[in-house]
């Protein structure tokens, strides 16, 4: 456990946030990243997301708090994370990407840091603004999202040793792959449900006959 959460790993996380190009390079080539930290960051992001939807002032957030379920959202975020990692990995495997699944997971997980920071900052700021001042809130959110996007892009680029153009192409293909995965998953779920129904109706039939 200490190996995953050692001081060096934490230090490298913050180094990666401030120097993405360099940081991601060493994650790939010197194993200085940590999967558990990446997972933890994704979970913290999900919590911040729920917190924002729950706690942000109603000047900027008119959601009904009763409709927000943080556990449900955690599940959704984790599923999306796994989907993104797997689909990116399945594409880059075919396109001479050097990154392993582990590296991709770390790259995406670490890129959540700016979003976590700025999302929570925005939530706090929102409690001090009135209408007409929403621009501050949205500016902070925008900065967070933009930084995270850049980090994600650089991360994928460095981990696979791609050029920028190739990264963008693979990201587009990643999206396509994600849709294919969703499609197959739905197909499979439907099939399993039908098989289940089949056996269930056999069971009912037997129950009624005996």
């Amino acid at each position: 456990m200490t190996k995953y959460f050692s001081k060096d790993k934490w230090k490298h996380l913050f180094y990666t946030v401030s120097h993405p190009v360099d940081g991601y390079y060493w994650i790939r080539h010197q194993d200085r990243g940590s999967i558990p930290i990446a997972l933890l960051l994704v979970m913290i992001f999900s919590l911040s997301f729920s917190l924002n939807r729950l706690m942000a002032s109603f000047v900027v957030n008119d959601l009904d708090p009763r409709t927000i379920d943080s556990l449900y959202e955690l599940g959704g975020v984790l599923l999306l994370y796994v989907l993104l990692c797997v689909s990116n990995w399945s594409i880059t495997c075919l396109m001479e990407g050097e990154g392993r699944l582990k590296d991709i997971a770390i790259a995406i997980g670490y890129s959540m840091v700016p979003l976590i920071i700025f999302l929570n900052l925005a939530t706090i700021i929102s409690l001090f603004i009135a209408d007409g001042e929403e621009a501050f809130y949205y500016l902070i959110l925008f900065v967070g999202i933009a930084y995270t996007m850049i980090m994600m892009l650089v991360g994928i680029m460095q981990v696979h040793n791609y050029s920028l153009a190739k990264t963008l192409v693979t990201l587009f293909l990643t999206m396509v792959a994600a849709f294919i995965i969703i499609f197959i998953a739905l197909l499979l779920a439907d099939l399993i449900y039908q098989i289940y129904n089949f056996f269930y109706s056999i069971y009912i039939e037997i129950i009624y006959r005996i």
């Binding site: 230090k11 109603f58 000047v59 008119d62 009904d64 009135a130 007409g132």
Partner: protein, 499 residues
Amino acid sequence: MKSLLKLKKIILALIIMTFLASNFSPVLANELPYDTYNYNYYEDIVYTPAAYIPSGSISGTQLVYEGEALGVFSNPRDICKTPEGDVVIADTGNNRIIILDSKMTKVIKVIESFDNQGENDSFSFPTGVCVSIKNELYVADSYKNRIVVFDKDYKLVKIIKNPSSEILEDGYVFTPLKVSVDYADRVFCIAQNMFEGIMVFENNGEFIGFIGTIEVKISLWEKFWKRIATKEERSNQRLFIPTEFTGIDIDDDGFVYASNIDENGIQAIRRLNPRGQDVIKKGRNENLGGDLQVDGFTKYSGASQITDVVYRQKGMYSLLDRKRGRVFTYDHEGNLLYIFGGLGTQEGTFVTPVAIENIGDTIIVLDANRAEILTFVETEYGNLINEAVGLRYDGDETKAVQLWEKVLRLDENNELAYIGIGKAYLTSGEYIKAMEYLKKGMSSEYYSIAFRRYRNEVLKENMSYILTGLVLLVVVITVGRRIYRRRKGINKERGLLDD
């Protein structure tokens, strides 16, 4: 055997008691034949206490005129009230006009025929009636293509017919359906197949033009289909013609309230100023179309179809929906105040509601199919809302607070009540309380005003502390950094990869 007899007696007594109880109990809100609800900020249905409850019905059979029974109404189409509060009914199928007193128990007059320049004349399918403030009765005599005007003694004054103008097509047949009159005796008329708006006549009966044309909105998608369709296909497609108005009423200032059937359920009511522009105020959800939740595939789903409108008082108006038999009441700001009514065959429900009017505290609705007038009286809840909205309309928001508090006691989900109380706290300077109430009322606009003032107050009081704190923080950080570095012996920042 004896015990059996005893049991029978007890059962009999029970049956009699239940009968007695049911006969003498007043109408309770939970015995209403319909649900009363409203929509909250999230446009979800919230059940509310009833604002109006049915109090009875008036049919032709229970009325007597000059010693003779009046007989059943036949397909009555319109009702209106006189300045004294008497009720005028257009008994369309029987080709007569009936005038009842304000309690609707006595028949004042039945007009079946009238003296037209020495000749005996009668109506043919009169669909609309209206009484001006001069107590003149206007009847839209649809099959005879004219509007007939009577004075207060029911003598013929004039007949408006054959409107002629350059803007009317040649051979246009004038078929008036609904009619209304303003304080200057200008006549506003909804005519059949007249899509250009409401026809306006001068007090001498001269046609002067249209007001309130409903513009047709064609979506990009429909335009696209039109573009790719062939000429033959295009001729088979339905035309994009504006909807006709369905009901009309005029408020004290001479503004015309006109209802129409909006397929999208967004705006079914217009308030037209004398120039014919729509000046109605929409509420925060920009909807004046009745029901908001209309999804589904049954015949009960779909946007409300507003057939009539009545201007009540203090900027309030009620709309009558024939789709689900609801009566929607809005205030002058376009907030939906309360909803009541429903379709059905029970007492207090409608089959084909066609016209709505208010007489004092009661609302009366005319049902063409049942040939009855249904009356509704306001409950405590409805009365409180009416009064509070009236006070707000007059600008007396502080006085309205007590009423809003009573409303909250009856219905703690009432967002308007929270906003009303919140605004009063705002004006009295209690910003924390104002914020609490305005947040419950989901009024981001007024909440922000309260919040901004509260924020300024706090900042003003604590500015010296905040500034001192900031200066101290900067000093502590710079000094601390210097001490830390000296102790560690670091002179300049080093990169991570130097070692």
